[in-house]
Symmetry: C2
Subunit: 375 residues, 2 copies
């Protein structure tokens, strides 16, 4: 363990919205009880004014940094979180929770439906990014936290960042949406829909009722993940990483994987199905597709917004192209919200926010330092 790495962190859970009652969702149905899995890094100061909420992307989870006891896989944003790192755990109390609808400890379609004693499957209600954020708000309230120094996240995380500001502007001092958009475009919806169709075309999906069965919709989910993975990289990064290199030195003249890029996609697909629930993939992508905070929706309460924005995009991101972040900044500045736009010059594509060594680290670090200096 290096000196600025976090050590062992402990997964935690919080359960709320016990029936009768439950959380009212945008679809008008109520859901409860709801459990959110979360992790924290660093120490909450006595004023509870040093909280940074990290919100994750489609396939992310609460394990953003450090190590779980007995495991070797560090959290998905480990390079961003730790002593002396951009989200400096010597100064900030960093919190990350698995989204509602997920499959990593938070309530989702694979959770047991108390009404039936069996996993929800498709009885789980359609959720939205707004529902995810309202659920997170319960966790924040439970921890006695009244304001967030920052909310930060990439991709779908960035959508949650915007949703936090739209719903609770008065409690957000700063917001850092990365590689995000204020609404899903038809191309983004199309990619999600094809992924969903791939899952639902798998007979093992069985209308969402596959829990406890021997066959799971692994082939469909793998195809969905492979499609996603192409969109997370750039043409250039794929060229740099794989070019046309062959696995065996020559064409096989069979339908097996000839090219390294094909093996890589298979590997990514196969790996994903071991760790992710197909129904969660359906629900979370649907939530993303429903997301639309364009126009005045993001800043309906503009008069009360003191939130400062740092909007980060990656030049080679073609899934959430930088023009969409620029539109977001225009939307904000048009309502006199303090917003700074920065573009990362990486070739890595959409996933650049998950990769160390870009300008992102310094941008976030400086932004937070300035924010604290001004208070």
């Amino acid at each position: 363990m290096k000196g600025n790495e976090l050590g062992i962190v402990e997964p935690q859970t919080f359960t709320f919205a016990q029936p009768p009652g439950g959380l009212e969702l945008e679809c008008k149905r109520t859901l409860g009880p709801i459990t959110l899995a979360y992790e924290t890094y660093g120490r909450l100061n006595p004023e509870k004014s040093n909280v940074i909420l990290v919100v994750h992307a489609l396939s992310g989870d609460a394990h953003a940094a450090g190590l779980h006891e007995g495991e070797t896989k560090r959290g998905w944003w480990d390079f961003m979180i730790g002593p002396g790192r951009p989200l400096d755990t010597d100064q900030y109390f960093v919190l990350c929770s698995n989204v509602l609808g997920g499959c990593k400890g938070s309530t989702g379609p694979s959770s047991v439906n108390p009404a039936t004693g069996r996993p929800y499957g498709l009885d789980f209600p359609i959720i939205t990014i707004g529902d995810m954020v309202r659920a997170q708000k319960h966790l924040i309230d439970h921890l006695g936290i009244r304001s967030l120094l920052s909310v930060i996240g990439g991709s779908m995380g960035g959508m949650q960042v915007l949703q936090w500001v739209a719903l609770y502007p008065e409690m957000i001092r700063s917001a850092i949406p990365i590689a995000a958009t204020s609404k899903h475009t038809p191309q983004q919806i199309a990619f999600d829909e094809v992924g969903r169709q791939a899952i639902m075309a798998d007979p093992a999906w069985n209308h969402g009722d596959y829990y406890g069965k021997q066959e799971k919709p692994e082939k469909g989910l793998a195809v969905a993940r492979m499609i996603g993975h192409i969109t997370y990289m750039s043409d250039q990064s794929m060229e740099e990483k794989f070019s046309r290199r062959l696995k065996e030195g020559d064409y096989s003249f069979k339908f097996s994987a000839d090219f390294e890029v094909e093996s890589y996609l298979h590997y990514r697909g196969d790996n994903f199905v071991k760790r992710f629930d197909a129904n969660s993939y359906l629900y979370i992508t649907k939530a993303m597709d429903y997301f639309d905070l364009s126009g005045d929706r993001l800043i309906a309460k503009a008069d009360t917004i003191r939130t400062r924005f740092l909007v980060i995009a990656c030049k080679s991101d073609w899934l959430y192209p930088s023009y969409q972040s620029l539109n977001m900044v225009r939307q904000l500045k048009g309502r006199h919200v303090d917003a700074t736009y920065c573009e990362i010059d990486s070739t890595y594509g959409h996933d650049a926010f998950l990769v160390p060594g870009t300008k992102q680290e310094q941008l976030v670090s400086n932004f937070l330092r300035n924010l604290c200096a001004k208070s």
Copy 2:
């Protein structure tokens, strides 16, 4: 019928490579007999010097223009071919054949294997773009044609154009590759491979043995086509065509298609499976992935190349981006081949070459007129 439209055209076939013997393929296997379906438009002049060969893309066929008896669907490049049109049938003899491996009348995996009396399925050999072109050459020879005024095609058609020049430079007066590349990149391979995985994940695919069975791999093929279709359009054209318009005016909070873009993709997928064979999709995409005429391969016989090139790309094409056409032009000019590059300023994306009303029509028309004027 307008004055410059073709009327009824007659599908034709040519069969060659009768066993024993057959056509030797790049995979070292021989295949025969081979039938190619083709159509012709206009009249062959006595010198047989007015032949333009049109080569089609992945899902295309020999029916490039005009109408079949009793049908209403005009050929896929009807706006390019006809009296007074860019491929002017008052002057040129235009020929188009369905590729080897296809499913529209030419020999492919759905054809009967004479060795077994049953459809080939996966016993069909892996073919290459080179094999497709060598098969076309047999048809051209059969018609007594010694030289081609032009070979023209978009996407995989453009690859065949390059392959024609690489194999038979002395007989090609001009070449017009559109929206093409001199080698498939890892991103292009990746999209193809995900489409293949979607087909092969469908249990009805049954290792390619589904002919005559009740269940066909329609779901898998539909997913493959939907993926493809996203790549054929541009972010901007999808925004212009669909934006976030909903089918029913409000969110359904179900997994049905909420957005018009989703319905459109379903429609495209469902339509495709009625007219295309899943195994042909596998074989043809594999041929594209194997395609590599980069470096000196395209112009190995540079000294004998008198072929004039018109290379056309579309600015908004992100599947075969214009830089790839530019690389092709650099490759050619580096060997002192006469090559002109033109970029179409359409927002339509890759499929712009299939859409009337772009600069493509005038570019092709003028290029051919100049070519004939110089002879």
